[in-house]
Amino acid sequence: MLPFRSRKRKKPPEPELNQPLATEATPENQENPSLSSSLAENLTTLQSVFANCTDLVYRELKIGQEQVPALLLYMDGITDEKTVNQDILKSLVNIRYSNPEGSGFNNIGMIKSVFMEIGNITEISTIGEVVEGVLTGNVALLLEGDARVLKIGTKAPIGRIVSEPITDGVVRGPREGFTESLRTNTTLLRRKIKDPNLKLEKVVLGRTTKTEVNIAYLEGIANPKVVAEVKKRIALIDVDSVLESAYIEEMIEDKPFSIFPQIDHSERPDKIAAGILQGQVAIFTDGTPFVLIVPTMMLHFMQSSEDYYDRSIYASWIRVVRFLFLNFALLLPALYIAVTTFHQGLLPTALLINIAAARVGAPFPTIIEVLTMEVTFEALREAGIRLPKPVGQAVSIVGGLVIGEAAVQAGMVSPITVIVVALTGISSFCIPSYSFALAIRILRFGMIILASTFGLYGMLLGLLVMQAHLVSLRSFGVPYFAPLAPFNLKDMKDSVMRLPWWAMGERPRLTANNTNNNRQRQKFFLKPAPPDENG
């Protein structure tokens, strides 16, 4: 009865909604000794904490006329060398001030308020804070005779410069993408939404990685229940490391065993901004350009940010095409098997004869042919992604030959199978979201198996089960398959089709806050039109 054991797992205690966030709740304060006023003592403590950390710099110096010993502590590399040298060291060394009372220069508050030419300075007083501050790229200034420490913010702006995102490509639209630096990312967002209501709440996740996570939402427009739910779920995360937003995604999604992704992510600031503007909540994670956005509905995976920059007619048409090819990607090989091996009566006569002619002498049954080709295709795709770019191209050329011409020439597979597999491959590239396409890729194999057992009836059963699962999913309280089911006519304006911007007067009901009047985006049919020539 092993599988049942998991039921016994105790659920984590349900947190109150108004409970403070995780950072403040961490029990560090108790086991975290205060600093002493002796610099030597502090130094010993810190050296034991940072034993064998060769990248830690201890810079001892004496300040003021009294020559008070001081210690600058920072991690080499993650602090900005220039700031440390020019702003901090210079201003410290240049202190020619003597305490008139002659009691020595021990006032760390004075350095902070009078001498330091740096903006971001906080006073801290525990070892733990010092350690965390140093590890996150700050400079700690310790002073003899003072139990307080100055944490001077000098995070180095390392990382990529803002460049065009690799995923989510567009023809028309902004070219900037998120980078690995959290602050850069939030800056990109802030530059798009200049509103004090854009809240960025900070959480630190990961006992070891201490990854900073920001929850961004637009107060008054985001649904407070969703915001609270996001905060609650994130607060419950207690892991030792968060290296990518996927860690968080897997932790907070509604149905962990569902095959469908329930949280969307993007590299594009404009997409995230648009999501926030329609009431979604974004989760920024330090160290990754991928920002999560919740709640997500299935349709979000089928939309590209470019849909909003193309004219609405084109965008609607492209969305329709995408849906068509979504179905192709899911069903085409299965349909091919079902029709050619179960329901030959369904084929037009001429096509039946053509397919039969193409299959004459084929050594393997259709199902094996299709499965082999599909698996080969998957391998090809995987090989193309992982390898270095020049090699990847070679792989796709060779692979294209293998699964294309050569296999047919050798009489291993019938040409029609190659056409079907190729069309399926192209179709799966039409799905804008990579993670959603992955789900479809897996389901495709399920469909192939079903079709090879029960033909179209099997496909029907598979579709029914899949559909039942899809409509039963929820992402942060929002039905996953909305607005198609439950059907919501007003939200359909931005679903399979996209109405022009002047017709999208209201924010989507499902994501936006429904309790106040903020649903209205603009006046209805606010369309500056040319003057009426007749009038």
Binding site: F4, F257, T349, A357, V360
Partner: protein, 424 residues
Amino acid sequence: MKMDKGCLTMRKLAFIVVCISLLLTGCWDYQEVDRLAPVMAIGIDSIPGSKIILLTVQIASPEGKGGSKRTGQQGGGGEAYTVMNSEGKSLSEAIHNLSTQSTRRISLSHCKIIVLGENFAEAGIGQILDELKRDRNFRRTDWLLTTDKTAKEILEKDIELEQVPARGLDLILQNFTTLGRVLPMNLSDFSARLNEESKVSFSPLVQLEDIDKQVTSQLEKAAGRSLESAGRPKTLTISKTAVYKNLRMVGVLNEDDTRLHRWLIDSPKGSSIKFTYTPQSPTEEVQGEVMLNIIDGKTSITPQISENGITMNIAVTVKASLSETGVTGVDVLDPKVVAQLELQAAEAVKLQLEHTINTAQKEIKVDYVDFAESLHNYYPVEWKQIKDNWDDTFPTVEYRISCDVEIRNTGIITDSTQQNESEE
């Protein structure tokens, strides 16, 4: 509603296990398409007096389809179709017997043509009809054809321009659905008609005609010498109609009657009217063979029961375009002339229709002109009395034909500029 995660997983696991176990045992109906023998047409013959059915099937063979496309494989050639024969006490038995000679599974789902041989049709087709309707593979859209020869002969014949003859027959009949003189008959309509009050149905008659020889011999006669001829094989033609009554073939309509029969029970659309134009005033001398193409038209049969008996009012309205006037001098710009043409065309139509109805009443004596059905529709109460001896009543039914022809256009020229032959 909140589920415990653990039990949910367990249920999913169980579901997946059940599904997989079901799937692994499956594939009962799995059948590779190249292991099929798609039957394109079946033909049924019988020997008079015996209950044995002789079945001919025409099977498309993919190998012969213009040569196989794959190189290095057994490259093409061969016929695009093969014909197989078998016999049995019933259709299904004969089909089962086919499997003794076929390496591939016989698939009937693509059969579109059913040809009934003359002997078989005359002996009665009831049993076959039942099987055709019962078998899921046959469709009610399948065409039913009768032949005055044997079905075997028909199905062994090539059709020009088509690789598989059944496909050719199918195309001919499809063209007939919109235009043409013969009313094509599918299984559904055939069966529905047999169930109607008159128990009469009909199907196109497919014939083998040596058109090449006919034309050559006529040309030879005219030229007075023997001509060289390529000697093309006989051709399949569909121009006549076989009439069934109570599941038995009882007669054949000739080409004219076939055409007008379609006028009567379907519509005149796609047909044509040919008549000799006689000018109204004796001063005009020209006479010409005039041909009208019918663009649109409608026929309605309205019965009327009075003390004198039953009268059928047949009203035909036709919209036509002038396709040939035969000779010049017919001034089609003159409204009077056009009115004359219309009147005379209507007269011609009347005569032809009368001939057709006479054939039905006097010669074949079978009500294939839908009189019974319209009586049933209009006089359901009276029909119950007439019904029992309708076969005797039918030849005596009076009818009145009114015809209205309207010439819509005169083709793409108005008047002919040709010299009159007589002026030469």
